[in-house]
């Protein structure tokens, strides 16, 4: 591949749009497929309206080189779909079709993603009335017909205190033949609200892109702004962000192990972990006053520092919590009746994981080494990150085990970071953003890789902001994992993924 077709770079730098080679669609397609054939994966793919055409940008990640590759082309009303040759693109293409009315010809599963009106004045490709808000879940669901075949519909309002989403199971007796997931109920229009920004409200909206990943999304956003303003956060701020990220990971992973134990009826771990999760959230509150890390990370650094006494206090609390966490978690993973329910259920093969471009806990549980902290590190606090946790079975147990081992690794990482906080300031005002540029940032949230990308206009304002939450890739894996499983295994499978609805719906 000649270098002129694409740009290779590391995240954390801003690229002037004028330096991006514009490829005709055929070259774009061939280059993309060639890159993916060379072990790149699609981190992000999005459109940006440009007069009468739609600019398309594909961001591919070469994990082991720590590099990103950027491909740029233009399309009008339609283009030959890339999905049949590169299934990782399937949702990105559906999303583009819904946002800009461009049809990916030959897409095998072209359905709405979030049920909103097109962002530009164009005909809706499903023929929905542009003057009315689309009805969520209004689409053709895949159906299996036949004797003793039945359909189970769940949601949008679920039985517990959880987010809304619609699930349709095609079942034969207890066996699930197919699960289709229809989301969009949490769509708040975050990406559109960002255009013309950054606005004073922007940090708050990014913190609430997925509330359980507040620190993850606000770190990714801050890194984008810092890249565009050419001014990195100080080493101390970056180390404190790493502390926030690991606390977020601990709270969520411990909560997830507890929830998985609860779904197979193992109540000791379920109740212990519920309490311990809350105590990790309280550590985040010790750090910044909010259990979810609200108001902690801002472009330019962080808003709260830790003095020596506070560091010592946090280390003390962590030591106690580590003991409690280990006790609660090991109890569950040493229990044969729990393992009998975890093992061999909801498998995702390594091939499927690679084909679908999965990330985070789910990818690691299927044997893929994908961790932004290792491949695309940014800043000081994370430079000594040990190789990530890998499991190979791809089942519920493997996803639980990834969490269990990541919890222990996080304790280690936190101790290391808190004991070696660099000196210096925690906040430096970001400079004006570079005009007509593009910046990308990656951040390993607790679910997996968060990809934020911004394009600026002549005035240095954001003209397109694109967010990829790990759940965007991984929801498809949940549907796949359920094939051939019993419908009664859905809850524990679902908990083992614990994906975000709002992070997907945006």
């Amino acid at each position: 591949m000649s270098q002129s077709k694409l740009i290779r770079f590391r995240h954390g730098t801003a690229i002037p749009l004028s330096e991006l080679p514009l490829l005709d669609f055929t070259t774009f397609r061939e280059s993309l497929l060639e890159e993916v054939g060379n072990h790149a994966r699609v981190a992000s793919f999005f459109g940006h309206p440009n007069e009468n055409v739609l600019d398309l940008y594909a961001i591919l990640s070469h994990d082991w080189q720590g590099e990103l590759a950027l491909l740029h082309t233009q399309v009008k009303d339609s283009y030959p779909s890339l999905t049949p040759d590169c299934p990782q693109m399937h949702l990105f293409e559906r999303e583009l079709a819904e946002q800009y009315g461009v049809r990916p010809e030959g897409h095998p599963w072209l359905k709405p993603v979030r049920f909103h009106n097109a962002w530009v004045g164009c005909a809706d490709i499903w023929g929905r009335d542009p003057l009315q808000h689309p009805v969520p879940g209004d689409m053709e669901f895949y159906r299996v017909e036949g004797e003793e075949v039945h359909e189970v519909g769940v949601g949008p309002v679920h039985a517990g205190v959880i987010e809304p989403g619609h699930f349709r199971f095609q079942c034969h007796g207890e066996e699930i033949m197919h699960l289709e997931i229809s989301l969009g109920f949490q769509h708040r229009g975050i990406e559109q609200m960002l255009s013309g920004g950054p606005h004073p409200t922007t940090p708050y909206q990014l913190e609430a892109a997925a509330g359980d990943t507040t620190i993850g999304h606000s770190c990714a956003y801050s890194q984008v702004i810092e890249s565009l303003s050419g001014r990195d956060a100080s080493p101390r701020a970056q180390a404190l962000r790493a502390v926030g990220l690991e606390l977020e990971r601990l709270a969520n992973h411990v909560g997830d192990v507890g929830a998985m134990a609860g779904d197979v009826g193992f109540l000791p771990t379920s109740s212990f972990c519920g309490r311990i999760r809350g105590d990790y959230l309280n550590l985040s509150a010790d750090l910044c006053g909010s259990r979810f890390g609200r108001g902690f990370v801002r472009p330019g650094g962080v808003l709260f520092d830790l003095n020596l006494e506070q560091v010592a206090n946090m280390l003390n609390k962590l030591e106690i919590l580590e003991k409690d966490s280990r006790g609660a978690i090991e109890l569950c993973f040493n229990n044969p009746s729990v393992l009998a329910r975890f093992e061999g259920v909801g498998c995702v093969s390594v091939d499927d994981a690679e084909t679908l471009g999965l990330v985070g806990v789910v990818a690691k549980a299927s044997g893929l080494v994908r961790d932004t902290r290792l491949h695309h590190p940014i800043g000081a606090g994370i430079k000594d990150y040990a190789p990530p946790v890998i499991e190979v079975e791809g089942d519920v147990c493997a996803r639980g085990n990834v969490r269990r081992r990541e919890i222990y690794a996080s304790h280690e990482l936190l101790r290391e970071t808190l004991n070696n906080l660099p000196e210096g300031t925690i906040y430096t005002e970001p400079a004006a953003l570079a005009p007509n540029s593009l910046a990308i940032s990656l951040c390993e949230g607790w679910r997996g890789e968060l990809v934020h990308c911004a394009i600026t206009n002549d005035a240095g304002k954001i003209s397109r902001y694109k967010i990829v939450d790990p759940s965007f890739h991984n929801w498809s894996a949940l549907a796949l994992a359920l094939r051939g499983e019993q419908i009664s295994d859905f809850p524990v499978c679902n908990k083992s993924f614990n994906l975000s609805y709002c992070g997907f719906d945006l």
Binding site: P136, P156, Q186, T201, Y204, G289, R291
Partner: protein, 255 residues
């Protein structure tokens, strides 16, 4: 079996004693704002200008903060050079009315209990159907925390139930996205009368971080535009103790 018992002993008894014993919250926790007019400079508008959600206003010369819009970030208190606006550690923030969420320098009233008839019905047993309508899942996460053994919501007779038919009220989180509006209204309609409506979190009260988005439904007064609200629980997200205190006061369980 012995391992489980041993671990149970190691983990200890963890249920909080609220309301008999006050909980200890993080030092940096931002609870009810405290306004000191004697320190406030009449010409200064730094705090008002610093809030991107317009939560702070000067009414009759006095600074007032609307906790229904406030996201409890540290911006306004950091910018005030006079120390006239600070956040206290007090988690008792809820109110029976929307206007009750506006804090000034006078004493902040606590949630009033239900009237005699409603208290007789719901005072000792309150079943709620929670609907998440376009939020970020932080409110839901901290409501779920109420079910953990630290808070043990069940001991107050409060339970989140699966069916609106079994519920005495609806607790709404999120700014009511366009895509959830009909589900919220349908759920409310399915709850038998008499019923309560609780708006929990900045989104449900007034759009929260998403105020102004065309995809959400509360441009004016939040859930209150669609349904008659009995209890507002502010915060982004509300602290579990804020929600717990609000609900048990409404039920008349705190004198």
């Amino acid at each position: 079996m012995f391992n489980i018992i041993r671990e149970r002993l190691a983990q200890g008894y963890r249920t909080g004693k609220y309301p008999k014993v006050e909980p200890v919250l993080a030092q940096r926790f931002r609870g009810r704002p405290v306004i000191k007019p004697q320190l406030c400079q009449p010409q200064c508008s730094l705090c008002i200008d610093s809030c991107p959600y317009g939560a702070i206003e000067r009414i009759n010369g006095k600074i007032c903060l609307d906790m229904g819009r406030c996201l409890f970030c540290p911006t306004c208190t950091d910018i005030c050079p006079h120390g006239a606006l600070t956040f206290s550690n007090d988690f008792r923030l809820a109110s029976n009315t929307r206007s009750g969420l506006i804090v000034d320098d006078t004493e902040y009233p606590m949630v009033q209990e239900l009237n005699t008839k409603m208290k007789k019905l719901f005072g000792r047993s309150l079943k709620l159907r929670q609907v998440s309508a376009g939020g970020c899942n932080a409110c839901e996460a901290d409501l779920n925390v109420l079910g953990t053994l630290t808070y043990d919501l069940g001991r107050f007779g409060i339970q989140f139930v699966a069916s609106p038919r079994h519920a005495d009220g609806i607790l709404i989180t999120g700014p009511i996205s366009e895509n959830m509006k009909s589900a919220v209204l349908d759920t409310y309609a399915a709850i038998p009368e008499p019923k309560l409506v609780i708006a929990s979190g900045a989104c449900a009260i007034g759009g929260g971080p998403f105020r102004g988005s065309p995809e959400v439904n509360n441009q004016l007064g939040g859930v209150g535009d669609l349904l008659p609200v009995d209890l507002y629980i502010p915060g982004c997200p509300p602290h579990p103790y804020t929600a717990l205190d609000a609900m048990i006061r409404l039920m008349g369980q705190i004198e």
